[in-house]
Subunit: 369 residues, 4 copies
Amino acid sequence: MSYNTFGKLFRYTTWGESHGPAIGCTVDGVPPRIPLCEADIQMYLDQRKPGTSKYTTQRREADAVKILSGVFEGQTTGTPIQLMIENTDQRSKDYGDIAKQFRPGHADMSYIAKYGIRDYRGGGRSSARETASRVAAGAIARKILNDTMNDTRGNTRGNTISVRASMVQMGRTKINTDRFSWDTVSQNPFFCGDPVTADIWASELDAIRKNGSSIGAVIEVVAEGVPAGWGAPIYSKLDTDIAAAMMSINAVKGVEIGAGMNAAILTGEENADQMAPGPNGKPVFQSNNAGGILGGISSGQPIVARFAVKPTSSILTPRRSVNEAGEAVNIITKGRHDPCVGIRAVPVGEAMMAAVLADHMMMHRAQCG
Amino acid sequence: MSYNTFGKLFRYTTWGESHGPAIGCTVDGVPPRIPLCEADIQMYLDQRKPGTSKYTTQRREADAVKILSGVFEGQTTGTPIQLMIENTDQRSKDYGDIAKQFRPGHADMSYIAKYGIRDYRGGGRSSARETASRVAAGAIARKILNDTMNDTRGNTRGNTISVRASMVQMGRTKINTDRFSWDTVSQNPFFCGDPVTADIWASELDAIRKNGSSIGAVIEVVAEGVPAGWGAPIYSKLDTDIAAAMMSINAVKGVEIGAGMNAAILTGEENADQMAPGPNGKPVFQSNNAGGILGGISSGQPIVARFAVKPTSSILTPRRSVNEAGEAVNIITKGRHDPCVGIRAVPVGEAMMAAVLADHMMMHRAQCG
Amino acid sequence: MSYNTFGKLFRYTTWGESHGPAIGCTVDGVPPRIPLCEADIQMYLDQRKPGTSKYTTQRREADAVKILSGVFEGQTTGTPIQLMIENTDQRSKDYGDIAKQFRPGHADMSYIAKYGIRDYRGGGRSSARETASRVAAGAIARKILNDTMNDTRGNTRGNTISVRASMVQMGRTKINTDRFSWDTVSQNPFFCGDPVTADIWASELDAIRKNGSSIGAVIEVVAEGVPAGWGAPIYSKLDTDIAAAMMSINAVKGVEIGAGMNAAILTGEENADQMAPGPNGKPVFQSNNAGGILGGISSGQPIVARFAVKPTSSILTPRRSVNEAGEAVNIITKGRHDPCVGIRAVPVGEAMMAAVLADHMMMHRAQCG
Amino acid sequence: MSYNTFGKLFRYTTWGESHGPAIGCTVDGVPPRIPLCEADIQMYLDQRKPGTSKYTTQRREADAVKILSGVFEGQTTGTPIQLMIENTDQRSKDYGDIAKQFRPGHADMSYIAKYGIRDYRGGGRSSARETASRVAAGAIARKILNDTMNDTRGNTRGNTISVRASMVQMGRTKINTDRFSWDTVSQNPFFCGDPVTADIWASELDAIRKNGSSIGAVIEVVAEGVPAGWGAPIYSKLDTDIAAAMMSINAVKGVEIGAGMNAAILTGEENADQMAPGPNGKPVFQSNNAGGILGGISSGQPIVARFAVKPTSSILTPRRSVNEAGEAVNIITKGRHDPCVGIRAVPVGEAMMAAVLADHMMMHRAQCG
């Protein structure tokens, strides 16, 4: 229900501004006795952190996470886990110029309309910096999923849930899925599964970066190993919660499940994923237009979601706007920014998918045992 | 939090199956002393109800709504409003064939995976019939919005919020927005704002219907008159809740706000909606790629959302599938179905938008007075 | 949580006014495949229904419950269960006199202060008639508890959870616990476990009834068989939710767990329930001042709660008050009322305890498997 | 509602263990532009902090609060406020003896039953140390209430809401209400409004402390200035939420509103608070058995709640118990503890009342404008 809390049973609440002393989140509802240490979380934060290539903002943040509660002798206790990440490389003076101006495409104007006050330094609460907290919470969600399927306390059931994402489109350039491999995803700064496209993007983004411009992107998140039966009809549909999760990420303007917007052009014959008898009595699907979800409930197929990230509005080209006094101004945003924020949204999309799945695993266990 | 409840402060809970005695919803949190009668709700239900043209299912339902509580002497009392719609034209025997079979693209298989039981008659709870309850709840949401802006108890403030939707694409055929008018939307059975496209759709859908096939569609919902400042950052973003609302509608596979998935191909210069000083001190925007929402908060521009509806999987062409025993079967779905369920999703999309806005109006008033 | 919804995972939402066409509730989150029919619910409603003895209101209501959704072929389906009870014996004209007057001790004045409107007929939404919906929901909660412990689908685990309540004090007359037996509880119109006290109450209440007066009472609810480990620390404590559940019942002014208010006079030595090793490795407690709950979590001991019900303010003695115009008036409430509403609160207290336990069973299963 | 979150719109989430690096809370939903600094919170923390007299635990904690987010240039921004209090005087070795033993009356046994793990140092999450976070959140709630009634941004409306508590009973010794004054409450270490009783308590508690024993208490919380109309019927009753709030405090076993458990002995004539016409058209009540709440909604009278705090089970007298292996043990708890934890519960009770009222103020504003 709340403004800064995500999830029903696996719930996390984030806090903190881009240029305050720290950001963080409280992760509540975590099952007990799951092994957890800071390194388990840090590895995902390192994927999202700024300054790792010339294609992301040059702000330097270690994004070092501290666990302040909820873990005892290396295991979760079932009580709330507080994660804190200190801010170290704020350059707030970069933002003095825009303290009273509304940057086009930013939340400056709408925050003032709502609250009558805003922490303008680095975007304050509306900064993408908040997504570090999501990635941290998502790392714990992964531990829960892994523990559920595989019992990290001893018994191995041989099942795993993997949650992976990649960038599949930057500007007008889409990957060729025939060349896609997950191995390739980790081998370039774009989380791109197609090596040829990765090279194209590199030169395209170089040009955009040098122009002080920016560009949009599409991210695809895939969860494999999710058993059939998670989710719920009507208002707690798995796809409903995924849509909310992805749309809540900064700069996201569209969310798709399976065939997505393209479902509009399909006929019933094309769209319906046919089934055949499979091993273990489970049906084998012939296609996955449903994106692994039928009637809001997982079908056992891979869950596939995509989301579009708009280009950041922090660009060097002057844009016409107004200031708080209602006067016309021209704005150039000079701070350190991402030419394609979609890149750093990849680990965030994974984290949100993991959070939704951990929540629904618990919701399912609650109702259906 | 719950499976069958939508909303935070304006909350409705739906119940009922396609072939049970009735369906309905409980609408909670409604402000007091708003004039309300059954006719206020019925006019919207009549837009969604089946059997009104040859392009929708031939099931005949009056969809007559009864108010069982929460209204006294023609006004809301602030207590829960129970709305009930009796089912009258169930033909459950049509469904006997599929009692033990999983229709491809349907929730049959996933419901059994989750619950081990399902009411197979007409899809039971997974039927689009549930959306009648949404339309009924949405009619009350509209009354709240209207009352807020305009005070239906006497004072007229001269402001209104309109929530309107239309079908903008069927299959591969999109409308020409240059020919669009809201007047046209009410003059054809497709809620189509472009008269030329409406004629094309008529012939295309005739062919699809005669083939026993079906086709997808895209619906666009536009809310005008929403003041700047509604919504909230991070996890109660206006766009997050709209995404969840639309994705929760049966058969929806994608949701877009403003530029939507197309935001991926825009540059920062193209995407950022420039502002100029306007009358009343409010900025005038030069474009609306943001879809009226910045940082999760309304900007004062029209709020624009789109969603894609997949074609129904209830088609006459045999499809390969499995039954509950895990055996291969061929399935033809013989019941009465919609060749383009997108048509009847138009009033549902409007209702969901109205519900989100009424909820956020109250959330905003709670925090910001 | 919403105005008219109780519970987190086992959630029910009630609706309806005392003199409207019907009342009812939607019960959401129920596990699937639990056998359920109307008779399972009716047996508890019959314990609460009015007109069964001269000690309760003479309003005659069959309180016949109808299941409108969520049950298929005799089993729950996991979808929302709608329960409806039609009102049949409204005498709204009895209430014409008080339409514009505020009865002392009633919600008349506060409803007008909040909403500016009220359905004055029979108290409208504030009537104890709403508690019939609680009893109906509680009957389903019992089925869930029983199914959890004992698997009503076949396997018998030999464990049961019993939830029982009795009236332990009426006015100044308390039962003698040495004479208490649960068998006696069902053998008198007071749900009194002490036959001697039951006779005393009979004559005391006769006098009160003839005087047109009313009297308060204390109810004790005991849940046996609850395993250790249900509940949660801090804000979802089992005792927190029981306190909320009981205090939400009409006319309740105090709630106690275990030693209750009396804990104030105990020393640490007296209060701490000592433990000794017991069979099955479970500790055996030497006393139960904790009321079966330690740190918000069940200990395996019986859970014991008590609540005080104030006397109804609907009495024949004239009381000074004001009307909506702010003028002084004398009020006599002539409708049909309960001389001791505590009596009919007994099955309501049981129902609320069952609802809390079913909710916490699912919450526990969600987090701890 | 979640395990570690309190409230609907004014929501705070607490985290941290007694002997971890820090504790704290995230306060969400705070209205914007309310002046707030650390000193505003510290003054209430200082009332609760340990080691201020010989009658409370000798643990020395500065309980210095830091605001990490949500405040900008001295004003709230409407975004989440993170409050952190570092732990400085843990003596975890004091607790080594009880690492594997279940202290009677403590949550040791039930935590293990639930989670299979517990942070035994100082009670971990079950420590009363968590209540410091409540007091901090309550300080912000007071600011909201004050701002609402009086507009701290400039306009003075001349109304205030005061939330005050005092200890009214320790062991068997109750205060004499004829001698009560709020001035006296701040002049002794017991928050006692009756100077004669304060002296008696001093000598009684000295003896208890020297014996290594402990004693229970009753706290009364009074909120004055609350306008009529806050609260809501049925499951969001003001008294329901107060009951939950107070019962969620460590060691509380009973909660009363107005006449409380004593309502059981009243007749309808005695109980119903008569009204007479008052100035401003508001009724004047002749008594306050209702404790300021009718039908779950405030009546304009002072809101009066009481709660009983059990004696701490950390005593020097050996008690029989069991250990994790199920063996019989004798336990003496040697750490630093409060002979009457009720004393430090006084500011906690105030904080919880303030939190409930701030929440309901916003809930009321949301629905009724």
